[in-house]
């Protein structure tokens, strides 16, 4: 391991890590809303909405993220009506295409996590809340959601780490994230091992942070 080499390239990699963090956080943020939304559809009474949610999650979990990001970035740009619509402002940029793909992907996984969390909530608690005269909305936000969050924390923590790793695919649509820059350095300097160690350590550091944040949250939300 050549330390000078690592130090020479570290600033560039750290700068790229900023983009990785940005992509991860934004996708997770939007993904939570998408996930909760589709989880609610799944637990509701409408058969149509149930199937919409079911197939959404099925398709996005059953195909590789790489295919999804390619369809959104290269595929949609091929359609003239998309390019002429207002959507193009958004789909024109690789940055927003990546966020869209990541959001839909993590949304699908999160919807499953949240769904099973909602389903495990004890019926008695809901009945008790309703018995106490809480409105449906209040029951949802004050009772169901907090319990569901607590329930889904461990699984959601895993999903966060998977998403962090997933953002490496941004490099396939021209974005220079941590993996993209690492690849560039490898192909110009031909030092795969060193670059892997440095870039890999940065990723592991981020994984470590996510891991501990989740642990902290688990403690905080632990009512039992």
């Amino acid at each position: 391991m050549d330390l000078d080499f690592a130090i020479e390239h570290l600033p560039r990699l750290l700068k790229a890590a900023k983009l990785t963090i940005e992509l991860t956080l934004l996708s997770l943020f939007f993904g939570i809303f998408v996930g909760v939304f589709f989880a609610i559809l799944r637990t509701g009474n409408s058969k149509v909405l149930y199937y919409i949610s079911y197939y959404y999650s099925y398709i996005f979990r059953g195909t590789p993220l790489l295919v999804q990001i390619f369809i959104i970035y290269f595929g949609l740009a091929q359609l003239e009506w998309i390019r002429e619509s207002f959507l193009w402002v958004f789909l024109k940029e690789p940055y927003s295409c990546a966020i869209l793909a990541f959001t839909l992907n993590t949304g699908a996984y999160s919807s499953e996590i949240f769904r099973s969390a909602f389903e495990t909530i004890n019926k008695g608690i809901i009945e008790a809340a309703e018995g106490l005269g809480l409105s449906k909305l209040n029951t949802f936000f004050k009772i169901k959601l907090p319990i569901a969050i607590r329930q889904s924390l461990p699984a959601y923590g895993n999903e966060m780490i998977l998403m962090l790793k997933g953002t490496s695919l941004a490099s396939t649509v021209t974005l220079l994230d941590l993996t993209g820059v690492a690849k560039h350095i490898i192909s110009t300097t031909f030092r795969p091992v060193e670059v892997f160690i440095v870039a890999g350590s940065i990723y592991l550091l981020m994984t470590f942070v996510i891991h501990n944040v989740i642990k902290l949250l688990e403690k905080k939300y632990n009512y039992t």
Partner: protein, 230 residues
């Protein structure tokens, strides 16, 4: 649909063989993963602190670093490493580690990290009493492992193995960056040549859905078979 014609005029045959390639790489990676998982799960379960550490290091690194980065390491570094070892043995020439092996190894090492956790979890969930019971019955350690622990472990681990398989199957799409002609690479080539990326990437998505669907069916059947008699 002319685009999917079988033969020289369309991409049907190419995509068919690419699908077979995807399955082959995924299977090879899964087996390499099992092999590694058997080693590292026993490390993680061992009483030896150093072995624990090695096992932990393996699963942490390969579950925490993006697949693409691991693939680049093996793709750009793989041949170099093999040639380095070969040189120690006195062979000084180019050894081509083909794209299939590079792909299967890089995906296999990642898959193995997930399988390690699955195996470890399965062993740990086996009732402690059974260890004691078999000791009382005077089973040899080896017999005891092969006849009692491993069959049970497989049954317990099956749903999770199914998950690892799905991850592995989807991860193979990333090998396309190394030039191995699997579904994704073939779609990429076809999309470039016909300038119709939407069609070919959507078709690739359908192929992957088909594969994940079929393998889920198969695992469900296996699970049913294995749970007979318990």
């Amino acid at each position: 649909m002319g685009l999917l014609a079988y033969g020289d005029t369309g991409w049907g045959d190419e995509l068919f063989f690419a699908t077979l390639m995807t399955i082959a790489v995924a299977l090879a990676a899964m087996f390499i993963g099992f092999f590694l998982a058997a080693i590292f799960a026993s490390f993680k379960l061992s009483k030896n602190k150093i072995l624990n550490l090695i096992g932990g290091f393996y699963t942490t690194v390969f579950r925490g670093v993006p697949e693409l980065l691991v693939i680049y390491l093996f793709f750009f570094g793989g041949s170099g490493a093999v040639m380095y070892v070969a040189r120690i043995f006195g062979y000084d020439g180019y050894i081509e580690v083909n794209a299939f092996l590079t792909g299967a190894f890089s995906i296999g090492i990642i898959s193995g990290a997930y399988s390690t956790e699955v195996f470890r979890g399965a062993v740990q969930s086996i009732d402690k009493g059974q260890f004691e019971a078999s000791e009382v019955l005077g089973f040899k350690k080896k017999i005891y492992y092969y006849k009692i622990i491993i069959p049970q472990m497989l049954r317990l681990a099956l749903p999770n193995i199914s998950n690892v398989w799905q991850i592995t199957l989807k991860d193979t799409s990333l090998i396309s960056v190394t030039g191995l002609v699997e579904i994704m690479r073939q779609s990429y080539i076809a999309a470039g040549s016909t300038r119709d990326p939407l069609f070919f990437y959507s078709f690739a998505a359908v192929l992957y859905l088909l594969l994940t669907f079929l393998s889920l069916k198969m695992f469900n059947r296996l699970e049913k078979n294995y749970s007979k008699g318990y």
